[in-house]
């Protein structure tokens, strides 16, 4: 007997018990659909978090001064003065994986315009900072290289600052505001970026030439950090290695000695967050997977009933020449058909459910992986839970089976 004959027999047997067959399938359908929907929700949230981090500049690398000692007292990184402009310059000269790079210094203070004032942070950078962080200029332009050389009192402001200081709707371009008593001319306004995933307002800032912030506001000659971007996300790791080596050389750090700086990438942060989301997704999928197992047990139960109910049929088939193997295959294929058909319907329902959930605002993303996975699990369920009843059928003695009442 070839497979197509077997399939015909199986489908026929299943169609003879449509309702029972459907109810058995329902267990699998619900299981698969919920696995797919849960994975879709998990993936969706993961992706939305990734894209949020990505909007901050996904290939961004930040160098900050590390913890160090001043005469035996451990200091926090932010109070260290180990990063110099020369470090920035050597990275610019020597690195090959770094695309854009800027030294950074920052100061908090009060921005004042007329009777309005607002607390904000001023970042001292060069003009490449905007590209690295993914800021766009909405109007005006960024400050220039010559502004940096002259420590010009110019700045680019974020939308929040504009809203606070120019609540009457005046065009901020060309206006002069004061930051910690230093008058600064607004040469550009940033495109609003909104809040990031950590709830930080990304528009509440001013950007000025780093020399201006260093000399006029902070009165320091070191820099507080270096921000740069790797050529692309894939090169993040190489870029980090490269920067680390350059700085180790600059700072005369011998092998085995603790670095006095930290190099971190957004990539790492993304991975941490992703792994948390992965765990959540797995948890959701595991709960859904349990319902799939329950569905499988449903199949096993029904196949047992089916074997008992059709004992006479099995006896007859054996008496007219069916081998044990063929009887076994018949019942195995029946359970596989139930589980695979249930799986297919479940996949369709799961995808539809995910789309529906997506419409209500929760981010969902159906992955091919989850579809393939749940489908394979279905086939496995069919074989696994169909095996035992099928073997029971195959091992029946035809004489007893024929006389079974």
């Amino acid at each position: 007997m070839d497979i197509s004959n077997l399939l015909k027999i199986c489908i026929k047997a299943l169609l003879n018990n449509k309702m029972r067959c459907f109810l058995t399938m329902l267990g699998i359908i619900i299981g698969v659909a919920s696995v797919i929907a849960m994975l879709a929700i998990g993936n969706g949230s993961k992706q939305s978090i990734r894209s949020e981090i990505g909007s901050m500049g996904s290939n961004m690398i930040m160098v900050s001064p590390g913890n160090g000692r001043f005469g035996g007292v451990r200091q926090s990184g932010s109070s260290m003065q180990t990063l110099k402009l020369s470090d920035y310059e050597s990275i610019v000269k020597q690195s090959s994986y770094v695309d854009k790079i800027t030294p950074t210094v920052s100061a908090s203070g009060q921005a004042i315009k007329g009777s309005n004032n607002t607390p904000t942070t001023i970042y001292g950078t060069n003009e490449q900072y905007l590209d690295i962080r993914g800021y766009e200029i909405a109007s005006g332009s960024c400050f220039t290289e010559s502004d940096i050389q002259h420590a010009a009192k110019v700045c680019v402001v974020g939308q929040t600052v504009v809203d606070e200081l120019f609540s009457d709707g005046t065009d901020p371009l060309g206006q002069t505001i004061r930051f910690n008593q230093i008058p600064m001319k607004i040469v550009g306004v940033l495109e609003p970026k909104g809040y990031n995933s950590m709830g930080m307002d990304q528009d509440d800032l001013m950007i000025a030439p780093y020399t201006t912030v260093q000399k006029r506001i902070l009165a320091i000659n070191y820099i507080q950090g270096i921000t740069c971007s790797a050529l692309s996300e894939e090169y993040s790791d190489q870029a980090i290695d490269e920067i680390t080596k350059i700085l180790q050389t600059n700072h005369n750090i011998r092998i085995g000695q603790e670095n006095d700086f930290n190099v971190r990438s957004q990539q790492e942060m993304m991975e941490t967050l992703s792994s948390v989301m992965d765990m959540l997704t797995m948890l959701l999928a595991a709960v859904a997977g349990i319902s799939l197992i329950v569905g499988g047990i449903g199949i096993m139960n029904i196949m047992y009933v089916s074997v008992t109910e059709r004992t006479r049929e099995i006896g007859l088939r054996m008496s007219i020449g069916a081998k044990g193997r063929q009887i076994m295959l018949q019942f195995l294929i029946e359970s596989i058909i139930i589980s695979v058909a249930g799986g297919v319907i479940g996949v369709v329902l799961g995808v539809l459910a995910s789309k529906l959930i997506g419409l209500f605002g929760t981010a969902t993303a159906v992955s091919t992986f989850s579809i393939v996975l749940s489908f394979l699990v279905c086939v496995f369920t069919g074989v696994f839970f169909g095996w035992y009843p099928a073997r029971k059928a195959a091992n029946l003695n035809p004489i007893d089976a024929l006389r079974y009442e």
């Binding site: 003879n16 006479r312 007859l316 007219i320």
Partner: protein, 247 residues
């Protein structure tokens, strides 16, 4: 004459708990092509056990059984299944048709287990077998839409479809009323006249008159083995019966 079946001192013992039940205590006979043999015996005489052995569903504890020249005793389960598929046609008291399945599909069933028969051949042979038992107009009827006599005729067609060397009927008329019984018997007699070899197992002594030979079993032994020279015709008995009212 061709020897279809040869039994040599067949013994079959069953172990029930500590007891040994001797169902067959040395049965020997041969059946040649074209015979219509009734195996008769009361319940417990061992006729069912004998039938199981003849049908290759069971193997004897000792003794040799040759079916169409092949020794069955040493065969594996799978080989016996194939042997049943090619050489034997079974007919049961309770028909054993597949539920909710058409006549033609029921008849095709044995050929489904034969790789050498193509789809077209299968259909053709099933149709021919159904025509042979007079059900050419009932091909697509489901088994629950048929009367008892019709169901048994479908079962006979199923037994014929693989062109077996022997047809084994187990109380084939047991579930039928008198009139239908004779109809089925007449069909068996016609098959016999066409040259088929038939073994009919029954407990009903009346049926012996319609076969060419009667083997009587008692307590696992053959008590008589007689040839019936004057064959009664089931068709004649049927004609003599009062006609049923047409509905």
């Amino acid at each position: 004459m061709d020897e279809i079946i040869r039994l040599d001192h067949i013994k079959r013992e069953f172990h029930v708990g500590d007891e040994v039940v001797r169902a067959l205590r040395g049965v020997s006979f041969t059946i040649t092509r074209g015979e219509f043999v009734t195996i008769m015996g009361t319940s417990g005489s061992g006729k069912s056990t004998l039938l199981n052995i003849l049908g290759c569903l069971d193997v004897p504890t000792s003794g040799e059984y040759y079916l169409d020249g092949i020794s069955v005793r040493e065969m594996s389960k799978n080989d016996r299944a194939t042997l049943r598929n090619r050489k034997i046609g079974f007919i049961f008291q309770n028909y054993n048709l597949l539920a909710k399945t058409t006549s033609i599909e029921n008849v095709e069933l044995p050929l489904m287990y034969n790789r050498d028969v193509s789809h077209a051949q299968r259909r053709e042979r099933a149709v021919n077998a159904l025509k042979e038992v007079g059900l050419g107009d009932r091909l697509m009827h489901r088994s629950n839409q048929l009367s008892g006599g019709q169901m048994q005729r479908v079962a006979i067609a199923r037994a014929l479809v693989n062109d077996p060397v022997i047809i084994l009927a187990d109380e084939a008329t047991g579930n039928l009323d008198t009139r239908t019984s004779y109809e089925v018997l007449a069909l068996f007699q016609r098959l016999h006249r066409d040259g088929r070899t038939i073994i009919f197992v029954t407990h009903n002594p009346e049926l012996a008159a319609f076969s060419s030979r009667t083997i009587t079993l008692r307590d696992g032994r053959i008590t008589s083995d007689v040839r019936n020279e004057k064959l009664a015709s089931a068709a004649e008995v049927l004609a003599a019966m009062p006609k049923e009212e047409e509905e």
